[in-house]
Symmetry: D2
Subunit: 404 residues, 4 copies
Amino acid sequence: MGAPKRKIINDPVYGFITINHPLIFSILAHPYYQRLRRITQMAMGQLVYPGAVHTRFHHSLGAYHLMGNAVNELRSKGTEITEEEETAVKAAILLHDIGHGPYSHALEHVVVKGVHHEALSLQIMHEMNTAFDGQLTLAIQIFTGAYHKPFLHQLISGQLDVDRMDYLSRDSFFCGVSEGVIGYDRILKMLVVVDGQLMIEEKGIYSVEKFLVARRQMYWQVYLHKTVLSAEKMLVKILERARSLYTSADAAMQTQSSLDYFLGVFNGTMDAHALAQFCALDDHDIMHAIKRWSAHPDRVLSLLCGRFLSRQLYKTTIQSEPFSPATIAAKQKESLDSFELEASEVGYVCFTGEATNTLYQTKDERINILFKDGSIKDISLIDNALIHQNLSAAIKKNYICQLL
Amino acid sequence: MGAPKRKIINDPVYGFITINHPLIFSILAHPYYQRLRRITQMAMGQLVYPGAVHTRFHHSLGAYHLMGNAVNELRSKGTEITEEEETAVKAAILLHDIGHGPYSHALEHVVVKGVHHEALSLQIMHEMNTAFDGQLTLAIQIFTGAYHKPFLHQLISGQLDVDRMDYLSRDSFFCGVSEGVIGYDRILKMLVVVDGQLMIEEKGIYSVEKFLVARRQMYWQVYLHKTVLSAEKMLVKILERARSLYTSADAAMQTQSSLDYFLGVFNGTMDAHALAQFCALDDHDIMHAIKRWSAHPDRVLSLLCGRFLSRQLYKTTIQSEPFSPATIAAKQKESLDSFELEASEVGYVCFTGEATNTLYQTKDERINILFKDGSIKDISLIDNALIHQNLSAAIKKNYICQLL
Amino acid sequence: MGAPKRKIINDPVYGFITINHPLIFSILAHPYYQRLRRITQMAMGQLVYPGAVHTRFHHSLGAYHLMGNAVNELRSKGTEITEEEETAVKAAILLHDIGHGPYSHALEHVVVKGVHHEALSLQIMHEMNTAFDGQLTLAIQIFTGAYHKPFLHQLISGQLDVDRMDYLSRDSFFCGVSEGVIGYDRILKMLVVVDGQLMIEEKGIYSVEKFLVARRQMYWQVYLHKTVLSAEKMLVKILERARSLYTSADAAMQTQSSLDYFLGVFNGTMDAHALAQFCALDDHDIMHAIKRWSAHPDRVLSLLCGRFLSRQLYKTTIQSEPFSPATIAAKQKESLDSFELEASEVGYVCFTGEATNTLYQTKDERINILFKDGSIKDISLIDNALIHQNLSAAIKKNYICQLL
Amino acid sequence: MGAPKRKIINDPVYGFITINHPLIFSILAHPYYQRLRRITQMAMGQLVYPGAVHTRFHHSLGAYHLMGNAVNELRSKGTEITEEEETAVKAAILLHDIGHGPYSHALEHVVVKGVHHEALSLQIMHEMNTAFDGQLTLAIQIFTGAYHKPFLHQLISGQLDVDRMDYLSRDSFFCGVSEGVIGYDRILKMLVVVDGQLMIEEKGIYSVEKFLVARRQMYWQVYLHKTVLSAEKMLVKILERARSLYTSADAAMQTQSSLDYFLGVFNGTMDAHALAQFCALDDHDIMHAIKRWSAHPDRVLSLLCGRFLSRQLYKTTIQSEPFSPATIAAKQKESLDSFELEASEVGYVCFTGEATNTLYQTKDERINILFKDGSIKDISLIDNALIHQNLSAAIKKNYICQLL
């Protein structure tokens, strides 16, 4: 039977997403890509926003859709993009998150200690490239920024890349948070390439401002919402406790999934075997383990797991100033006493930390505006722009989480 | 600490859902209700509509929201509904699906053989009622239809109940299928109570027609979509195979979840212990088991599980006429040969069945229209209505599923 | 100065509409096209649906946008459409309503007696074609059905043309009537051309059903809403009264607009002078005249105008059966008595009529469905389709309008 | 016949608007309120955003709807609002724009020289109050700020009043400009009254920031869009020219509408006669006059009118710095030469001006935030807020309009 030539996928955010290239069909059908169906995009966001249960599979498809629109827009303005480049940049965006593990970002540095998800994405792309007889070579060049048309890389990873456009649009949509709506369609219409660099037409300034403000609001209102933060910290603490307890001799710790490998065997080297184990791991393994561990004899582990499942999370306070040592000490004592735990276990029931977000980093970020007279300026340097330099400092907030 | 008095939950479908009664807060906080976060509403629908990953938790909240609106509308038209009745009918709709197990409806009759989810809902409500010192007594009376104001029960379970209104609205929203949009807000505005019975004002006829047509389209386009049907049948076949193989001696069959109880121990009697096991079960257990079984020595079980995980489903054909015995035999042989299976195993790789849907059942359904002159007529009897009696016959379609 | 090369117009219905061809820019800039800004799409619909104040200018732009999408879809399925054909079919759809006069359809046969708006559109296109040095020749051929690719004409005027798709989408959007939402994007994705004829892929059946049902509901709920009908009849009666009274000697009748020409001079021959007068006429002239006539000495004229301005319309009743002569006589007497009018004037204050709508006319309409096996069937002949032949009869309703 | 008791109006922005009080029905039915159907909300905005043809009638209804929601929210938080107060504050918001004339704000200070629309609104309310036997007395007290519950007045006219919430929501909706979407529903949920003053709960800070940023973007992208500004200036210049030429002897100047009164007779005193004339004036009179004047012998008047009708507007440039005298002189000469006009007429074809907008005026504006600890702070004084004091300066831009 011939492969399907054209497929339409319904998407509540964009309406329809069209698949019409054999390579894209092959990527979608690959078990590694199908795994993304089982990895939620927003981890614990759903505990505050019940609609936020969408997956990385869906996000990647959405970013792919926006990439197609971006390519069409740029072509209509005279930027040359060949058929091969189009397919490659679409393949690259489809795969940009292929290295994400379960409940990323929450667990990114816990399950697969010390391995960054972008490095993993690249490693998996290389493996798929072998399976696909080199059809992903150009996609990988663009993904790594090695290709001679920088704007293609910038569409995947830059200040106004389709990754951000999709996740902000999609997350605000599924959360039902209108504050995060970014007007992606107008930004796409304003993209332009000058000397190989991606920039924005002058009349798109307000849309970019809106984009930056929406991103900021999504951070404080959603991603760093104190209940979301509380749940994600609990997830991390559960995994940390599990790792500290884990021995293959303890049958009650076994999860019968790849998680056993990463808790008991993995030594930090992502070889072929480790990669195969990683690609078998998804959210279900974590949730199954937590359900199982909720009956484990270790009091800290079972406490955290039980609380997590019934959404009785840390009580979390966020404030601008650091918490005083006296405050911290008092809260820690209170938590230890509540559960009759030992002092060495305090890090699981009461701890502090810092959350940071920046409106616009004048150092690293570069959103260039192309004026009608041909001049180009960074958006933070434009008269009367909302995004002034004095707004560019990172905002740090302190939090304390306490189990009661 | 005092309980929170008022909470607002963002919902992409309705904007905001307000919680403002202690009993409702208690229900939401209960582990049995939190379990619904881990049970998807549309089972395998997400394999065709990637956005359809919303949960029964979310659906129940949505139905609760519509119930509040319905109560307000009816009161504004002079129907008396006391504060107690309002709280009770809201509690009842929140709990109407509490008895759903993992991947219902797909697995309803497979995991918990012979126990209907409504019976389970009622049983769980009774248990929660004990825990809540009888605060759910009125809710249970309304839920079972024992209360003397029938319209309250009809709002929970009837032709135009808020359950249907929410799931049609929510499913079409998360699927991105505009064909299923039903205009719930207008239907709510047209509700009216006469002699204790719920009915629709005359000018709401078109909205009800739209509702019935939308429901029909959701059935054929979404719920009975051939790929969704194919995946759900595969899920059923996996569980059936697992049950047939299951012995506690076979370590590779163990799932380390309540599923073990239902595959190996449960005898059909839903006693307290069985109920506790049931309330510990969710989608994650099923998915974990399937991942585990994909490596089981039984060739049929591992074949089905592996195919399911990578979305290589049965090839399914749907048609009006039954399939001829010759066609069936040829396809069965083809499947058995493909995998070198024995004839006794054919039911796992090639089988037929029937899917049915009715636009409007004139027998059981009663959507009564209240005319301005005070007369009342069933919608199927109205002149020129779209929903004629000759459209009321059930539509049956035949399908054949074949693994290749 | 160089002509603008590319322009984006914000549209609340579709997001953005892109203009990128010199001929399209020329059409948009032409005073005849700008005139459509002053002609509302839904005439008196706004008296019931306050948002329904959108213009024919906007509708034509929207249909142009859908045409661009349709062309892209068909091309992606292998149907050849040249650049010239694309521009021509877009120009034709932009101009398809150019012959509409003020408050069409309400006034179509009243102001310009006996001249159909499609004939006027064609006449105006010919005049513009002269001004544009023949650049509209191909557009006119397509518009009149003379071109050898019938599907291009069918996209402009057929059962599933972009005209209907836009006006149903746009009207339901501006009215805020979700019952009228048609899912135009999915229908567009399902279009296909076979042997030069436009048809719909099999899996688009439900979308087409939805389209027909939505159209039916828009007719009964909006276009033929009894208050809309009442207002439009009043508008017609005002113009009829004005025409019967009109003499150039009566200064109080003069409107100082082209309306004077059509009430006093026009003899039914649409020569160059008449056409120029017609192209100067818009909604403002009618409203100005009505405001002026509300102070005219003629009691019937001033009564109707005054009532119209303050939305004190005919009381209208709609029913399936014809009204009995006795009922009509009684109501007529009541109205005449109320205003102390003479029997000869009864037609202005109490009259009956018939409103008709058909779900699907099996005779004239042809929505062909292309099945996967290559066969083609009319949608009304398909098993289990909602649109059965017995639903295809026209539905007639009788109305009586009475001023009180 | 009994008056209707309850009516539902479809609104594309909010879904449904419910009318359920006899006084509100009486206001809606009054010819002065019906007149608002003929006054567009956004004047010339439609020349850039074709959907922006909504009326003040619709806006007032929308603000009324939001007022109902605000009252419900505040009551649910324990703020006492009596039935009488509710009806009065709803009546007041319905009438808050009743004094707007045609194409306000564009023509506010031109047609009715020196009379502010708020003063006119109050004068008309007083007249209607007489007609309604004093039923509007409380509404007027609230409208003028004389009532002892200041928050009711602040809901009508304040930094977060429902007037702004509606027009920003409605204008962005009809324009199709997602940048202007403000999340009115969340702001309403965050309203709270302390000591009689309206304020915002702490967790509503981001929504208020979004509101202010959206307002700023609507100003620069829509209300002060250079083409909108250009068209509105042209409208003003046309009226100014007409006034300078107007004599009752010149038949070609006569408009046969109340405009004749305001151009030829009105002396600045808004007595009963003048008010009656004003209440007969609407957009149609202006457009009819412009169409008529496009054939007037005065070359400037006919030039401006002709250009306006075919949307050949001033060429407008906007920049931060003032234009140099040399630039202005050169452009003025160019325009005069183009049309062979005299120097004294230059003000009609080439002129400069200033447009101003402020993000947040720390002086006059007061958006108070209520913190959980009970403290209250102005939003501009909150740490890390987007709305810093250094962003509070008014932004001035200079424009030059030139006819070519």
